[in-house]
Amino acid sequence: MDDTPTFLAHLETHDTALTLPRGGDLTWDDADLHRAAHTRDPEGYALLGLAPGVLARQRARVLLQILAASQAGLDEPTRAVLARVARILTLALPPAHVITVLLALRRLRANHKHTTRTALRFVLEHPHADALIAARRPALRDCFEHALGTAAARGCARRIDGGDTGSDYLRRRLLRFLTDPHAAPARVQALYAAGHPAGHTAGQAAGRDGAAAPVPAEPALAVDDARHRPPTVTATNRGDIAATLVHLYRGGPAADLHAALGRHLGAAVAAFPRFEGTVALVLDASASMRGYGEREWAVLSQAAALRMLLARVCARLDVIEVGGGERDPGGATDLATGVLDALGAPGHAPDLVAVVSDGYENLFPGDLARVVATLPRAGVTTPVVFCHAMFTGSDDLRLRRPDPALPQRGFWHQDDFADLLPWMFGHCAAGAPWLRAALHARLDDLDRRAAALAA
């Protein structure tokens, strides 16, 4: 999984559209990258599509890749995971993206049994199937005919039109792919209702009565939790753990606050699998991390929350404080020495070094970058990542990037940990099983929510 962080970063940032111009070729600018990642590890690739923060356009590519590729040679558990991911993505993407993917499969002449199943379930069993058919009937009919083969699709449609709901033909050709065969006949009828099956209206949006109907834009299933961002960010509306810490730092009632802290931390920890490795955390506890005025403790409290979370999630967490201490922050920022101390004695290197800092390096600026640039030639292979402690998501970081070459990711709210931890652990070999476990848990959860949609 050496390429996981790079590929994940790609999935989170490469936001070009997948397009299928009428009569033209499919435009898929990063197809090679997806194909290679899929070939390396089909299951890991598919699961990565569900990682928090992956762009919808990239999730559409993952769906296209797993539906376009043959599953020959894959074992049954892997096929099952791919099928589940594909199903989740058809529900979690805006329907227009899924239709593009299914039409692309037709253009690519990709048809496998797993493709058929996923396509049919989308066309006939999507929670908004009726509205989608009304809005995109010709396109969905094309998808339907590609999935079953034109002759079989039209054969099914004719039989359904004649009142067939469960003949052997219908079962073998169509109903066996579905989980809710009862709803299918009416929707197949709707697919063919507006005219001749061979009508050349593909791509037009026409309603049952000929009037245009809007395509439902919202996905049926939200993969990433909607973030509730306060209009005004304060020191204490950045998540429960940090808020409790701020009150503790300000001298609030310790017993009550510690009890609350335990509860909030327990709830946060439960969302993550255990990381069976060692993380060395270089924690910036300098004066700037404490901050001043209304922002006092805001940044440090979230960094401390991350430290507490990691202490519970990781088999081992070594913390190297820079400047002062978490409860008594102060002094200058020497990140370079912090990283050298974090790397430990030869033979005892951690699996990952994570620098958590606001990015104000003053002793001396540039040293972190030079030390990190020297690590490969000093025989150090331990990955180093930079977790940018911010006040809000819109902080100006121009003067706060001590080493632009380091992989870096910002955080300011407790909700950010859901993306931050997979990103961090994704950078080390010991993180591969963690990431897979975390994404499997996510898939299980999404499956449950998808089942509830259908119910």
Binding site: S286, A287, G291, L340, N362, L363, R370, V371, P376, L399
Partner: protein, 324 residues
Amino acid sequence: MTRTPTPATALETLLPGPLGLAGHRLGTPQQAGALTMVPIAGPAHPGFTPPRTGLKLTRVAGYGRVELHNGAPTGVAIVPLHIGYIQDAAQNHALCRSAFLAAGQSLMFEDACCVQQSQGGYLTERDQWFFVLPAELRARALELRGVHGYDKLWADIADLNARCGLARRGHLEQILSRKRPVLTQFQSRLELQPGQVGALFFVAGRFTGLEIAPDPRYFAEMWTALVCFAYGVAAWRAEPAPPGPAAPYEASDLAGLRGALARDRAARLAQVTGWLAAAPTGPAELQEEDRYLGLRLSTLTAPHLAGQIVTDGDRTVYASLFAR
């Protein structure tokens, strides 16, 4: 942990003669862009009112006339040299000199300067924040102490604005308020050390200022005004371009890397020490301005620097000196 060595340079190199700084020690320099700050640790002198919490601007009695009040129950206030006050919708003013204010005492500064050419209104006590005049204006402001005339600094402010690429107006607010987001970052880019009572400032390798406060709390309350405004403006003007890709050290293992880093840091500390040694020197002249009990406030003038100091016998309690 690797410890960074401390430069052994005595402050006396820079400041021979009148400044009794024997108890003060230089710490490890910090850098942010073009600004280098060498922290100074030293004795804490009791009995002084901190400037932000204790000292208030109570009213502006007319352009160029500013009244300050020491509201602390005990403790004499040393009015920080070249302090200025900013408030929305009021004329911003700065002082050209320091002074003593006993506990409970108010003092009218008749020689204040208005630093905002076209904004009407007078400052009152509400929602004010203070700054220290940018280093570029300090020598002139000191020369103008005792001179009445609210507009006396406008031409110099206009020149500084022009050098900052701003409209040539006697409006310091153009820099202090409009550039505040970038200037206030200096209070995080550089970090106050525990127990710090002063600092040496260099901009682009050139000595720019020396600040000494009576105790750590006083200095902490001056920190923002000094790093962001007194020295931050010159540093912002000299902000270097972001560095290119970092060059690795010659090292084949971690021990070698630690050694290379330590040598590199020692070289940079030597460089800062070199800047200090290279600062011009010359005979300093002292002129007493004010006294309170055993304290003496004096103006120091030398070919290379100027400013004001407060001494208690042979000990320096406060100093605000800048390169000329």
